[in-house]
């Protein structure tokens, strides 16, 4: 089996700050995803990447950048944190030919 590791687990930022979230997977999966979860809502796709150095926008990409530095890692940057923002950011991966998703434990963001 494999594992998806997200760092940090908790992130507290200031309004306007640039914040970076990291994700590593050892499944050797081709595709990686960043989803955002707001309280009481389902997950919404921010960015995904089908291979190293590829980047595709999801439904919620405005205000975010992403980078797929190598096959095993995918990072997400909040370009300017919004005051009172609170959400959980979930990283996931899948084999290219399938769409079964495997998720990390999440990064919980709070902006003061």
């Amino acid at each position: 089996g494999g594992i998806i590791t997200q760092t940090p687990k908790f992130l507290i930022g200031q309004e306007g700050q640039k914040l970076t979230l990291k994700c590593q997977q050892n499944f050797n999966h081709d595709t990686m995803y960043w989803y955002r979860q707001d309280s009481g809502k389902g997950l919404r796709l921010i960015y995904y990447s089908i291979t190293e150095n590829d980047l595709q926008k999801g439904d919620l990409s405005e205000g975010y950048d992403a980078s797929r530095e190598k096959k095993s890692s995918f990072s997400l940057t909040v370009t300017s944190a919004q005051k009172n923002e609170m959400a959980v950011f979930l990283c996931a991966s899948s084999m290219r030919s399938q769409n079964t998703l495997y998720f990390g434990a999440g990064t919980r963001l709070s902006v003061l």
Partner: protein, 111 residues
Amino acid sequence: GDKVKQSPSALSLQEGTNSALRCNFSIAATTVQWFLQNPRGSLINLFYLVPGTKENGRLKSTFNSKESYSTLHIRDAQLEDSGTYFCAAPYRGSALGRLHFGAGTQLIVIP
């Protein structure tokens, strides 16, 4: 509007009883996935379904693509079944994990 609607939004079950969660699609879903988000926040993949039925222990899921719904049956509910259950279906024409998620069913199992 919501492409994936889950019902009920919340549910309390007595330990040892049975229940069913439902997922209705307004998109032409070809596959469906069910996840459980445990109280720690981790999302666990329960089922990946093409049209038909799958069973795993006390859980059984059915996906009817013609009538655009899926159900998740929980038999003999246990305390560890508590959490939020999500269903999700892929974006049209996408073979990848780009999924539309429902808002979830929050399940509490009571001793």
